[in-house]
């Protein structure tokens, strides 16, 4: 019985099967993608199969390959965090709009029961703390609790986004605030897509409806989408907003590219943005 027969008999192959002894990358791939139902005496088998000279050589090769496999897997998994961020910011917006919608129902209903009924999520939170005295009041107060829960959920998701966005896209989260960074990544469909977008597209992300109206000839070209919520655009003099939005979106794309390709934080980006915005501001002041 040859060694290769023995392996077949055991039904299982080690990570090194079919891997060239010095091909760390292929070994790493095998470690990440392979599987086996049961372990075996891999060091011995690797030596017998000629993959390693001896145990020490096997362990050295194993170490190199596991380090490479783990480093790659960590990077990939962390990159997948941008998708989690996208889900989180969308869920946050869902909770926000659902809390508001349900708060309207609460206000309308409570208005028929309490002379001092208010409106909005704030009133629902207040009502949720109160003590119902009739079966109808029980239902309204319980509904108000749902509003409060949804608003709490939104707040917790916001904290999550504020914590995660700087980890996923440190530069983008510095230039925009973390929530805006997350929204941009969400609108683009991921950090990679955002990094590959022209600045002009980023400028109108979130203004798709207005843009389509423009393309159909119904409206003027939108100057900015969601980046309008950025203080640099809002603070710019009205006649400079287009220019501010253009500059901001250009910088945001650069930030997204650095975040996607290197992940290193570069404080210079933010300083540069501030200088450009000051210049635009003073142009408006003249």
């Amino acid at each position: 019985m040859t060694e290769s027969d023995a392996e077949t008999a055991g039904g299982e192959l080690g990570w090194f099967a079919g891997v060239e002894p010095d091909d760390v990358e292929d070994g790493a791939r095998a470690i990440r993608e392979g599987s086996a139902d049961a372990p075996a005496d891999w060091p011995e088998r690797a030596v017998k199969a000629g993959f390693a000279e001896d145990d020490a050589d096997y362990y050295a090769k194993l170490r190199k390959a596991t380090i490479r496999a783990t480093r790659d897997a960590v990077t990939e998994r962390e990159r997948a965090d941008d998708r989690q961020l996208v889900h989180a910011v969308r869920a946050m917006d869902d909770c926000e709009s659902e809390a508001n919608e349900l708060a309207e129902r609460v206000a309308e209903w409570a208005g028929t029961l309490y002379p001092d009924a208010g409106t909005g999520v704030g009133y629902a939170r207040e009502l949720a703390e109160s003590d119902p005295e009739t079966p109808v009041e029980e239902r309204v107060v319980s509904l108000a609790e749902r509003v409060a829960d949804l608003a709490d959920e939104r707040d917790t998701l916001r904290s999550f986004v504020e914590r995660q966005a700087p980890a996923v896209a440190p530069n983008l989260a510095t230039l925009a605030d973390p929530v805006l960074a997350a929204r941009l990544i969400a609108l683009a469909g991921g950090l990679e897509s955002l990094a590959k977008m022209p600045g002009g597209t980023v400028q109108v992300l979130g203004a798709e409806n207005a843009l389509f109206a423009h393309l159909r000839g119904h409206a003027s070209s939108p100057k900015h989408g969601i980046i309008y919520t950025h203080e640099a655009v809002r603070a710019a003099p009205p006649d400079q907003r287009g220019s501010a939005a253009r500059t901001l979106s250009g910088k945001l794309v650069i930030a997204a590219r650095i975040d996607h390709y290197s992940g290193e934080h570069n404080p210079e980006l933010k300083a540069e943005l501030d200088r450009r915005m000051d210049a635009i501001q003073s142009r408006g002041d003249e």
Binding site: E12, T66, E78
Partner: protein, 211 residues
């Protein structure tokens, strides 16, 4: 109870502590080549401090599940042979890679300990010690699933965290349930609460059940 070769008691800041010899990893106090192994930061160290019969002599082949950022597994690698370190979360694994840099016998794996088939093609059979410190529900089940790696007379050194299983029940009840599950794959040699080092944790030493 004697300590494994490569683990000694030494004095740090006036206190008598466990220590191993190796490159510092997480800012722990050092004394020459020796680095302090604080039982408050490591469940395995707490088991040794309590004199549990870990069966560790030094030089063993080890599979460590739940390596986290490498605090404990770096000490284990200091006094063991080939040491496989499995961790599922990417962020702590970045730190674990730093601990690996300075240790020739430590092999990191970003894998889910609940799915041993995803690393059975890498981790060798007949390891002598299985150390497990995962903070997920079903800790005993994870230990049973990973029994396949352990040799007949090998040891399972397990820390069960009550709160990871069930925050609502009383820890003793949780431990009993976990031990019941554990008995499906192991014979339990010794159990001990890890207070005062770790609250609501149970240290367990076990050997694979004879088939």
């Amino acid at each position: 109870m004697t300590l494994p070769d490569g683990v000694e008691r030494r004095t740090f800041g006036g206190d008598d502590r466990l220590a191993t010899k190796g490159h510092p990893v997480y800012g722990e106090p050092t004394d020459g080549d020796w680095r302090c192994w604080d039982a408050r930061r490591s469940k395995l160290a707490a088991m040794l401090e309590h004199g549990m019969d870990t069966g560790l002599d030094g030089g063993e082949t080890v599979l460590y599940l739940g390596a986290a950022s490498g605090t404990t597994v770096s000490h284990v690698a200091d006094f063991s042979g080939p040491t496989y370190a499995v961790e599922f979360a990417p962020r702590p694994t970045r730190d674990l890679l730093d601990a690996v840099d300075a240790r020739e016998n430590l092999f990191p794996l970003l894998k889910d300990a609940r799915k041993p088939e995803t690393y059975a093609h890498v981790v060798e059979s007949d390891v002598e010690v299985l150390v497990q410190d995962v903070a997920t529900r079903g800790q005993a089940r994870v230990a049973c699933e990973n029994a396949r790696f352990l040799r007949e007379d090998g040891r399972l050194l397990l820390a069960i965290k009550a709160r990871s299983e069930d925050v609502a029940s009383d820890p003793e009840t949780v431990f009993e349930r976990a031990l019941d599950t554990l008995r499906e794959g192991y014979e339990i040699i010794e159990t001990r609460r890890l207070e005062p080092f770790h609250v609501d944790h149970l240290g367990v030493v076990a050997v694979p059940r004879k088939v």
